[in-house]
Symmetry: C2
Subunit: 240 residues, 2 copies
């Protein structure tokens, strides 16, 4: 709620329970000051509205925040996350939060990925939904073409890839502007989607696990790029 108000999202209504109204009087006052209608409701109504077992007692109705993909490339992004058929809302929201933390400039929900406005996704994003440009309902092929056109290198996170993040060649190019492609939590990225990328890269498995959870893999990949871009500076493609 505070995120939505402070990040300029279009808040159209605020629902609040009596206890939450006194607990968050600063937020309620801010909303009223901004001309947002404030509705006091019972805990029972709040439970239904929030669709969660332990609602916070405060619920803001916001306009959609997603943007067209063309808007993303206008700011010359250096790090982007592309979700391809990520179905689990908790995973998708966690990747959104992690991408925000890693300083990514956009997250794209492509192909059959979950609705970013799914309540569980919004909660898992912990406010990051309002922090960075979000693109929804786009084809992965189109997203890849737009990102490539903007000078980003497309890396596919693929546990079956021959080269890992530790590969010196991969390491040497991690500082380049990069869009990371992440696949479905159960089956990953099928070959036809991997083929859209410039290079498939595996997170190395040093132990006996068969694979990493999607959100954990995304954290390792996005932070590897973020760190390389910060420590060595963002380098141009092909070291230019």
């Amino acid at each position: 709620m505070a995120e939505a108000l402070s990040c300029g999202a279009q808040v159209t209504d605020l629902f609040v329970t009596v206890p939450a109204r006194s607990r968050h009087s600063d937020l309620v006052t801010a909303a009223e000051g901004a001309g947002i209608p404030v509705h006091v409701v019972s805990g029972e109504v709040m439970g239904d509205l929030a669709q969660t077992v332990t609602p916070q007692g405060l619920l803001a109705v916001c306009g959609f925040v997603d943007v067209p993909i063309a808007a993303v490339t206008q700011s010359a992004p250096t790090l982007v996350a592309l979700l391809a058929n990520v179905r689990d809302p908790g995973n998708a929201g966690t990747v959104l939060r992690t991408a925000d933390a890693a300083g990514a400039r956009a997250v794209v929900f492509a192909d059959a990925s979950v609705d970013p406005y799914n309540g569980k996704c919004v909660r898992a994003s912990a406010g990051s939904l309002f922090h960075l440009p979000l693109v929804a309902g786009v084809r992965l092929g189109e997203a890849v073409a737009v990102m490539r056109g903007a000078g980003l290198r497309i890396l596919a996170a693929d546990g079956r890839a021959g080269r890992s993040l530790d590969d010196p060649g991969v390491q040497a190019r991690l500082g380049e502007p990069t869009a990371w492609m992440f696949g479905n939590e159960a089956w990953g990225l099928p070959p036809d989607l991997v083929a859209l990328a410039d290079e498939p890269v595996a997170v190395p498995i040093y132990g006996r696990a068969e694979s990493l959870n999607l959100a954990a893999a995304a954290a390792v990949c996005l932070y590897a790029s973020a760190r390389a871009q910060r420590v060595h500076g963002v380098t141009g493609r092909d070291g230019a």
Copy 2:
């Protein structure tokens, strides 16, 4: 199930539905060959046994796999994860899976952390429960003392820490044998637990997120150590 059988866990019974018996005939044959009683049950009974909405149709009853903390240090571990009051079973299981992937030699469920045998934790671990030594029901203070006695440096993952993973001093020592301490998903590590560590270290936040999800932070920390230990070799404490 395959993990449990192949990793030497004590499987005492195998429950299987008729469709799963033909689908996984190799596993059922292996179980029978090992003298494990195989019980055919209805889908309804399986649903109750597995406590999940879409059970796999195959359920093994195993003995507990946790070990005393003294057993962990006998193998001179170089990377260990210490969970301090991690309550969410999905998070704990994901950290277990990530620690396994990162090549950690043990995961310790300390203080009021969730029961590692919680069904959701077991499922989130994706078999990793059987891959590396697991310690449960130990005090964090005791776990820290034992790890420190075994020559491990204790790092506390703490978003409020003054130094981050990018700090050159932190980077220089990441190759040392390390036990990473991770706190509760909602409130992190309180000061009295951080004080048990040799050093608190933050995962850097490059964007606008307030913090990272626990499992994502653990992935970044564990992989940072694993990579440093592999690329530069495990170094002794204080560079010795």
